[in-house]
């Protein structure tokens, strides 16, 4: 198996790793960089639990080869919280009561982040579309939608 040098900017810090061609971004994040916030739920792009942001766009890290991400900026859930506490989107998920088992939450939070960066004032259609492809087996989704709405309202209020 061929090996390749891959350079990523992960949560703002440059990282270079030699990886086999078939390694996914998820494997490199979890096994190589100990960033275990991205979860493997299906390994096939079906559940969204491994979502990270690649140059600001949400991607399923289990479907992206590490070599494909070469040169990109990767944001994981670990990069969101500041030293002084959760970021406002994370706080909105707490306040909306959107977490239950928590396994899908990093994916939803990052999807919300990408949405709000792109569309600060999202419609309900935008929110549902941004959550599309993310599965949650606990909440029934309504508190998750509400968390995104709350985060948007708070951003708008400054």
């Amino acid at each position: 198996m061929s090996r390749h040098l891959v350079t990523l900017t992960v949560n703002g810090a440059p990282v270079t790793r030699e990886v086999e061609a078939h390694r996914t971004l998820l494997e490199v994040l979890r096994d190589g960089l100990d960033l275990i916030g991205a979860k493997e739920g299906c390994g096939a792009g079906e559940c969204g639990a491994c979502t990270v942001l690649l140059d600001g766009m949400p991607v399923r890290a289990c479907l992206v080869l590490a070599v494909e991400a070469d040169g990109c900026a990767v944001a994981t859930i670990e990069g969101l919280a500041a030293a002084r506490g959760p970021d406002p989107i994370q706080q909105a998920f707490i306040d909306a009561g959107a977490t239950q088992c928590g396994y899908c939450i990093p994916g939803f939070v990052l999807a919300a982040r990408a949405l709000l960066d792109r569309r600060p004032d999202p419609t309900d259609d935008d929110i549902v579309r941004a959550c599309g492809g993310h599965l949650c087996r606990c909440t029934g989704y309504h508190t998750l939608f509400e968390a995104v709405r709350l985060a948007a309202r708070r951003r708008a209020a400054g």
């Binding site: 299906c42 079906e46 859930i77 998920f93 707490i94 239950q100 396994y103 492809g133 909440t139 029934g140």
Partner: protein, 802 residues
Amino acid sequence: MEQRCIGTSVPRVDALEKVTGEARYVADLSFPGMLHAKLLRSPHAHARIVRIEKAAAAAMPGVHAVATGKDLPWWVGECIRDQRPMAVETARFAGEPVAAVVASSEDAALAALEAIRVDYEPLPAVLDARAALAPGAPLVHPDLGTYHVLPGFRPSPGTNVFHHYFVKAGDVTKGLARAAVVVEQEYEFPHLMHTALENHGCLARYTAGGRLEVHAGAQSPFTVRNVVAEAFGLPRHRVSVRGGYLGGGFGGKSDATVEPLTCALARLCPGRWVRLILDREESFVGSVLGRGFRGRYRYGLTRRGRLVAADIDLLMAGGAYSWTAVNILPCAGHNGIGPYFVPDLEIHARGLYTNTPPVGAYRGYGHPDSQFMAERHMDLCARAVGMDPVAFRLKNLLGKSGKKNPLGQRVDSSAGDLEGCIKLVAQDIGMATSPEGIRAREAEPSAVSRPAVAVGRGLACLMKSPGQATNAFTTVVLKFNEDGTVHVISAVSEMGQGVHTAIAQIAADLIEIPVEKVYVPQGTDTDYSPYDWQTVASRATWMQGRAIAAAWEKARKELRATAAKAFGVPVAKVDYRRGTLFVRGDESRALPLEKVCHGYVFPDGHAVGGPVLVAGHYVPHATYADEQTGRGELATSWTFGCQGAEVEVDLRTGEVTVLRFSSAIDVGRAVNPELAKAQVIGAVVFGLGGALTETVTWGPRGEIRNASMTDYKVPTPEDVRGIDFRVHLLETPVPGDPVGSRCLAEHGAVAVAPAIANAVADATGVDFFDVPLAAERVFLALQARAAQAPSPKPPRKAKGAR
């Protein structure tokens, strides 16, 4: 106790860890030198394992061990010990592990699996409960008579029946003979998959000193400990099982699934951690499934709509191994009639071995399975006697006059206001409850509001009691710290339900301190945690509340004794209120909790009392079923409720859209109303999956054909976005309970399927007797009906009567 925190919606204690990605799950753990296990699974539903060639695999780089079933000569199980960690000689379901590789990396293990050759001789398989019951059916367990069986379970050697639970009251034959109207129908609730976002996983190490250490992604670390200790003949103190956050359980992780096998493989590689994490397909085919019930319902009624007799026969396709399924049978059985009074009844629930993955607990534990049938049947019966379904239910309710349920327990209004629940739900979804309302509704134009769309409404009652062992203790430890803060140490697993938050609230109110002063450590370690039987059955908050009350009583006694010494007064003169110990009648003589709870230090430096560390436990009174009648204290706490749906059916496509879904449940006291409502809505959506889209489908060789999240259709954000969810939590006080809460967790999933099917029947006139009501099936049924009777107006009454 003054309830200041109970009843308020404090934020979850685990929310921050979860939104920041800090929360650790079993697949996130790793240890130096850790090895990885991968499994080879049988492609056949039933086959003799003729030969396994493993030498080539064992010689591959990085491989530490290659095992077949014969290398792991242990038995696994609790009630009926019928399983091996891995198949020996016979593979009994497609997906059963037949060989395993332990290697230095997952890649090395997977490569070695490819080098294992297995010769199978396929055997005739039984995939369905009826086929398994038929005379001459292939036997899944020819050795059934030789297994270790706990008291109360009745396997029938020479058949596929692993348990037969029945309950009887009155004389059902006479009751049916006397009935003016008899309604009979068969139903089915097929197999479902839990599909928790987190797959099953386990890490185990067999230490040089002969201890087994386990990290389990399991709901019940103590049960895992007991199962593996029994399997390996180890004393309990030589096995430690640690549990942490679970990425969803829903019953699928409630007993033991991958843990015995992981531990068995660890014994082959002493000193090293062995990690087995299933992938998604393996979680489908190689853990446990849910439901898999068929039922034949026969009710007798008077012409005026009073139920007089019920004859119910339930069959469960329990899969290849029974021990996770066996206790579901009594629950499905004695709850199989719903919350109605029937004087003459007989309910049989038989569990059948089938060549399918084992069935285990699945959100509701038998209750949704049989209550789907019961609540569909109630609608058929109402129709047969020309009554409104709401009025018919109200007429036959169990709790109204303190009559006895099938178990012989008297159920009265203190068990909850079910009538109130029904009325709230009926109002929400636009079903009338009063005679005037019924007349008004019948005068309405047809429910078909648009040419291609039919709107319908349906409701169903729910009842649930925890299905648990008679000695299913829970324990809690209160550990007071030097500053008056308190650790509440408990072994109940936090799997999303919010139990640690509820525990903190209950402890805060009982101890009368702010909730911020209470800490509930996350994670269980059977070496250090107080015993809890299992985190299942919606029991954790209810049982823990009572255990905390018992522990606090002891702590309070100790605190008063220490304070008495400090004050120099008799203990009887010392009282406690809101974090302060004081002399009764002279409240100027007072000490704050923190001056007493770690012993009191006198001005000269000498100390009395000591750090307060107390345990409390709770178990409700429960008994085995009576051998003759099936009656007994099998249910220890009831929660009643009602659920209803307003749906829209697209007559061109068969697609069912839920417009509104209402749930009303009498919870006694909602410890945290927002968490409780979130539990209910989450359970409703979980139930909607089983009602509308989810079902396990089988291929020609008995293999699961849709073992992926693309092909097994759990509800998605798009599916639920438009639904108007209503939740009512009624609070009829629970007599004599220190907290006042009833069990609540699974309940929101119990009556979803019948409510939907009743609503679809109301909308279209087409009756479904099984689920899911997927668009394709509804479309075909509409087509079939159109071919039969070209009338465009859906018939509303008088179907199903015989």
